[in-house]
Amino acid sequence: MLNYLFRRLNLLFITAFILSVIAFILTYWSSKNTLADADAGYIIQYVKYMSAILQGEWGLSSIDQQPMLIKGLTAFASTLELCFIAFITANIIAIPLGIFAGLNRNSLLDYLIMTIALIGLALPVFWLAVITTMLPRLLGIPLPIDGGISPVFEIPVVSGFILLDTLLAADTYQLDAFFNRLAHLILPSSVLSLFLITEIIRLTRHSITMVMKSNYVKAAYAKGLSRKEIVFRHVLKNALPPIIHQLRLQLSTIISFAMVIEIVFSLQGSGVWLLSSIKEGDYLALPTAILIISGFILLSSIFIDILLMIISPIKRKSLYVD
């Protein structure tokens, strides 16, 4: 198991190195005159750049002279918040549906569920996001469609996760700000969760079908267990690892969809931050975003791997990373 971890970390370092080189090239290209010792060789500049990065000095934004690292992390935290809420909602809806579809293959229920999943796959995210801004008006539901939180609330940025910050500012606004933020997140997260629901339904259905065909389920039938017992005791736990594994590969897609949705709904996350930075000419945002977002994806990959190792004993034996 340690062997596996070690190999995984190895992969992380190599990927991180390549990313840091890309970030270095972008920084160099975007701000030629702010790098010290422009005469020195590229390697020395790279080393200096890396040491600055590791010390936490990522440069200042050209718009408002704030440190780039803080801006980037704050923006990304907001994106993560959206992804998290969408993920939870999507799981609550999609996993039961996927299980039903997988257990009753080729039945009417299965076709119905797969139709829903296919529709979600076919709709483009940005189109759906724009339609959703108009939807509350049509249906008469008073949900907010713009902004991360109402401008009436001034929440000091502590962690970047606005839900947490609203709870921390509870003495000023009580819980109004928290609910307001939640309400602002409902529409964007439902758009993002539609895509996630599609993915999770398909994965769950496939995984459940595969597990139901496996030998130990047949043995369980032979032991005389009822279908319900088999599903709850044997199938669910074994169906989970492939789902998690596949979702890990989708992580970057989820984040990029989240950024598009943020732009449509004017949520102050990394999508809006990057777009406005490029418009204003603050190109230092690009390498910052690369480092933060890719770094996050790498780290979460590792965490997911560790999680997989914990819940699935088979994976503990595997030597090679896939």
């Binding site: 043995a219 369980a220 039938y221 032979a222 005389g224 074994n238 699935s312």
Partner: protein
């Protein structure tokens, strides 16, 4: 008394090419307390018969039989629920590649615990009165493992299936199978994937179970030689049809069906009569594939005695318990055809 009495079992599977009769009027009679070997090559339909007995067949199979009795219970008339109850209690099954038949995400302990008969409230109540302590689950599992010959039970119980060898896994499966004291154990090629030492161990275990607890064992195998020492009765099956059935002595000493003769001839005995690099004996040809099953006796195309009348299904002939389905059996002088069939 026959524990399992199956007469004229037929299984039709609907495929894209239409209905295929994979098992054609097979008959099987298992005597209580015996070890019965069901021998046939791969693809001859042994596992299908086992599944049909257990009721694990798919929805697109059609299972018909004149009789399918387990003791006094008619298996065809049971509802799904009742069938399930029987499966756990009366019939148990062990499989080939035992490691894949164990749940990979659970430790052995919890898997065995799952099949143990649950202590009912009444028993608990009674035990309090009788002052006889009920055995704890730990105890019972430990006993089970000892019964099947696993000495280091603590290690095994704390392991996952993928950490154990096939032999140990098979013993664990057997332990789970006997946990409820079933009357019949169906062993579907239990040792095909193992090396010789483990194979011997497993067979010894099965034999012990049969002797000590009078558990009837239906042993499916594709290797005539390996089960021939073990079985009391043997049934041979070819391509979905039972060709010969009888006690061990009867089959070995006087085989009547050409297929049986061929099987016996394939048992390798390493004596000087086999010369270096000589050709081993086989029947010419291959097993027919499922969509090209011959009409009538399915050995027909390959049988050395085949003649025109072999396109009809042969009637089973019974010579004092030695049943044979062939138009041209090898008959001894003092045997006369007795076509009486037991009802």
């Amino acid at each position: 008394m026959a524990l399992l009495d199956i007469r004229n079992l037929s299984i039709d599977i609907s495929t894209a090419q239409g209905k295929v009769r994979v098992i054609d009027k097979a008959s099987l009679t298992i005597v209580d307390g015996s070890i019965h070997g069901l021998v046939g090559e791969s693809g001859s339909g042994k596992s299908l018969i086992a599944k049909a007995i257990l009721g694990l067949h798919n929805a697109n199979w059609t299972v018909t039989a004149d009789r399918m009795f387990l003791g006094a219970t008619d298996l065809t008339k049971l509802s799904a629920n009742d069938r399930r109850k029987i499966m756990g209690k009366e019939i148990a099954m062990i499989f080939q590649h035992p490691r894949s038949y164990l749940d990979p995400s659970k430790k052995i302990f919890s898997q065995i615990k799952e099949v143990l008969p649950t202590t009912s409230v009444k028993k608990l109540f009674l035990s309090k009165i009788k002052r006889v302590p009920e055995q704890s689950t730990q105890q019972r599992i430990k006993e089970l493992l000892h019964k099947v010959g696993i000495q280091n039970d603590q290690t095994v119980l704390a392991s996952y299936p993928h950490e154990l060898s096939e032999g140990i896994c098979q013993k664990v499966m057997i332990a789970m199978a006997i946990a409820n004291n079933p009357s019949l154990i169906i062993a579907d090629e239990p040792t095909t994937a193992m090396e010789a030492v483990t194979r011997a161990q497993i067979f010894r275990l099965l034999y012990k179970l049969n002797q000590l607890h009078s558990t009837t064992i239906l042993l499916l195998s594709n290797n005539f030689g390996s089960i021939s020492n073990l079985s009391d009765y043997i049934t041979l099956i070819y391509s979905g049809q039972t060709v010969e059935s009888g006690s061990y002595k009867q089959i070995i000493n006087s085989p009547m069906h050409p297929y049986t003769e061929a099987m016996i001839k394939t048992i390798l005995e390493f004596d000087e009569s086999i010369s270096h690099k000589s050709q081993l004996y086989t029947l010419p040809g291959n097993i027919p594939s499922a969509n090209q099953l011959p009409i009538g006796c399915r050995l027909g195309p390959r049988c050395p005695r085949a003649q025109r009348s072999c396109v009809t299904n042969p009637e089973p002939l019974n010579f004092k318990g030695h049943v044979i389905s062939c138009h041209f059996p090898t008959l001894d002088e003092n045997q006369h055809a007795n076509t009486s069939q037991r009802k």
